[in-house]
């Protein structure tokens, strides 16, 4: 969320029977500064409300972080361009190093000699091999367009990375208390 006052309604859903629900939701629980995070535990909220008849459901703690200011478009473009170039060159490096390591040219000539009788396989076989690589990356990375909305292998990795970061931040905040 943006920097400023954090209300109870911002960090949890509230359902009240004997209390005014709207008043509870608007109750301030902290002040969020720019580029900072706030850590809330269920027990902090109970202490703030001074009530012992509260039932907590869900996660026992949460972190509220300040929304990052949107980057300037030129800077974002430069960063994205760098990332694209890096991954393109990185992909090339990875596969070329592998081919050098296993002497792929020799292997291709040998396979061609066995199957066709000529060691000179021409470029067509290399193109078919490269097409196989493209198909494999798209298939195993779940990058092929399909009607089913399933995440790609990189999206699940991104989710895991974010979950781990959140867990670490919670752990760090709990350690400070």
């Amino acid at each position: 969320m943006d920097a400023g006052a954090v209300k109870l309604g911002d960090i949890c859903d509230v359902y009240a029977v004997n209390e005014n629900e709207t008043r509870l939701k608007r109750m301030g629980v902290g002040e969020l500064a720019q580029n900072k995070t706030l850590f809330f535990r269920a027990v902090d909220i109970a202490r703030l409300l001074k009530r012992d008849d509260i039932t907590f459901l869900g996660a026992p703690s949460c972190i509220v972080s300040c929304r990052e200011k949107p980057q300037k478009s030129v800077l974002r473009l430069c960063k994205a361009g760098f990332a694209f170039l890096l991954l393109f060159a990185g992909g090339m490096t990875t596969i070329m190093s592998y081919h050098t390591d296993v002497d792929m040219l020799e292997m291709t000539s040998m396979m061609s000699l066995i199957l066709t009788g000529s060691a000179d396989s021409g470029d067509a076989l290399s193109v078919v091999y490269a097409v196989g690589i493209a198909a494999g990356v798209l298939f195993f990375g779940n990058l092929l367009p399909s009607k089913k909305q399933s995440p790609t292998i990189f999206q699940t990795e991104q989710y895991e990375l974010e979950s781990q970061t959140q867990e670490y931040l919670k752990h760090e905040q709990e350690g400070l208390r």
Partner: protein, 143 residues
């Protein structure tokens, strides 16, 4: 097309699929793409990065097998310079991610009780890799 040629094409295609499966798994397990998207603050472009990586792998495979002789003078030199620089960054990224996945840093911190100077250790490691690469590339001992 003879049966042998057809079989060669089929095997080449299957080999490509198998190699790319391993490539995708390694790069995915190391979390290179999500880390890069997080560092640059461009998480929305995650799928674009994945396609770019795929294009890079295919292009690299074609170049290393066909090995075309592109005599494009100064432009070739410039491209080679940029490619080498980017390859270096990617290799550093790759090795750091590998060290992280293998839990090398926590093992060092635990063994030496040096958690507070963790950042310095990583800088020392990066400097060591840099010096090692220069010795490997510039001295005659490894030629």
């Amino acid at each position: 097309m003879t049966a042998g040629a057809a079989a060669a094409f089929f095997i080449a295609f299957a080999a490509g699929m198998a190699v790319s499966a391993a490539t995708v798994v390694i790069i995915s397990v190391l979390g290179i793409v999500p880390h890069l998207a997080t560092i640059t603050g461009t998480k929305r472009l995650l799928n674009g990065y994945a396609y770019t990586l795929c294009a890079g792998v295919v292009f690299g495979a074609l170049l290393s097998l066909i090995q075309p002789k592109l005599s494009i003078a100064w432009l070739g030199n410039a491209l080679f310079f940029v490619f080498q620089a980017l390859s270096g960054v990617f290799t550093g990224f790759f090795l750091s991610a590998l060290a992280e996945v293998l839990d090398i840093f926590p093992a060092i911190y635990g063994a030496l009780r040096l958690k507070r100077v963790g950042a310095l250790l990583i800088i020392a490691l990066a400097a060591g890799k840099c010096v090692g690469t220069l010795i490997f590339q510039l001295t005659p001992y490894f030629q």
